[in-house]
Symmetry: C2
Subunit: 275 residues, 2 copies
């Protein structure tokens, strides 16, 4: 999905909501656990109930890998379902935070972007910048695909290294400044945590046009209005993620309907912010 | 495997060699491709041919993930084979370079360290430090398990951010200094690229006792003698990885025997360095 298609999607759905599929067997409704693939069945029901309210889904790979090959199978079925049931209607993000030497990142890129090899065809992957340009560039060799580089994350540990600074800038600012030369705003986004909403002003000085993926609205405590105030551009420029607040709104048989209610509340707030 | 067991293994085998299982279907011998699981069969033959010469194996996850769930199945069979066929005789490293918010890193830790969940039981996992303490600590909650934190990598892109510095130190030095407080030299190691061997002198000032995992001897161009000169401690303190030079020594039916020859050359050099 290219940038103008993504922007069109945001305006037609009046939403810049990403739903994080951090699907945890200890939190899904008990009645699903007897099914052959409870993770996939849970995801499918959540997607079917919310697909018109969200512009993106973001499976968090850790929640699948903890079940080994079986979990990867559930993940593969999930992305295949989105691509088949809602073609062109959803932006898909592999939240995998990968990054390694070039030769290795090439293999990770195949995992995310080459369905003939891995069975999976995401639009975007989150990448960790620590190993620099050649660890990130192989992901950009797939036309139409995106990378989303970790810049400023929403966790406590973000303070450990991301704020390391010389006289001129902090590490996350150097990541933004340097990495934007590796691609363009048509193929790169940045992860910026919502707990640092006021910092979006500084970040927008460095990357005025890039889309930002903002996790941490909801369970990690950010405010949607603040994020929009400091981070929104004329093209929206934001994809805001919510995971647990939506997908675990209920752990009863009404979980999909309740997830829709929660997603709808956020979408309605986003509609006002986009107006 | 705890630290003293690892040190004993190094001295009894007279080796600090790690063999990287970066198993690529485009490089394995053609006669394996008709088998049901060529990746596992290749790994098994390499392991059987070299297990007495190496102290560690390091499957690089990207090379399995590029084949999706099927690749994860080959990976799982590989680690299970090592644990079953050579119990207590090999240190196993999940080269996955993971790292995310705490709740997510917990799930990655289950993938690497909890066989009842994922089927996999590695001794160690490589982690990326960008997201800080809470992204790394969940991996340390498993007794007897290790994390190997990226400090100074061997690729060109290492220069992009790892050398970012204030007046006092560079980022990789800050990573070494801060992160060593999160665990101990009994549970933490660092990745230090061999292409920067002379920098091991500075690194040893910060982490005198930690084991260092040194990739890049061989295909990435480092020298074993240099690494030992600048990085070795009284406990050895080094695990040196070689991947392609060993596992792709031949792509004929003699691949396992040729891999053994290459591993033996390195082991013999290590034996002299340990003497």
């Amino acid at each position: 999905m290219n940038r103008s298609e993504l922007i069109n999607l945001i305006h037609s759905k009046k939403s810049f909501l990403c739903i994080g599929l951090d699907t945890d067997l200890s939190k899904v409704p008990a009645h699903l656990l007897d099914l052959e693939d409870p993770i996939f069945e849970f995801n499918k029901a959540i997607i079917d109930a919310t697909h018109d309210l969200a512009v993106a889904y973001k499976p968090n790979f850790a929640f699948y890998e903890c079940y080994g090959a079986r979990g990867w199978n559930s993940l593969t079925k999930t992305i295949q379902y989105i691509n088949t049931a809602y073609p062109g209607q959803l932006f898909t993000i592999a939240d995998a935070k990968r990054g390694d030497i070039g030769n290795t990142s090439q293999q990770y890129a195949r995992a995310m972007f080459d369905p003939s090899s891995s069975g999976m065809n995401f639009d975007a992957v989150t990448v960790a910048p620590y190993m620099g340009e050649d660890s990130v560039k192989p992901f950009l060799s797939y036309p139409g695909k995106w990378i989303i580089v970790l810049a400023l994350t929403s966790n406590k540990g973000a303070a450990d290294f991301q704020f390391f600074s010389n006289q001129d800038e902090r590490l996350f600012e150097q990541v933004l400044g340097k990495s934007q030369k590796w691609g363009s705003a048509d193929t790169m986004m940045y992860v910026v945590g919502a707990t640092q909403a006021e910092m979006l002003t500084d970040i927008r000085k460095i990357v005025p046009d890039h889309f930002l993926l903002v996790p941490g609205v909801g369970a990690q405590g950010g405010s949607l209005q603040e994020v929009a105030r400091y981070g929104m551009t004329k093209d929206c420029g934001l994809i805001v993620n919510s995971s647990r607040n939506i997908i675990y709104a209920s752990n009863g048989t009404d979980y999909a309907a309740r997830a829709r209610q929660e997603a709808l509340l956020i979408q309605q707030e986003m509609e006002l912010l986009l107006a």
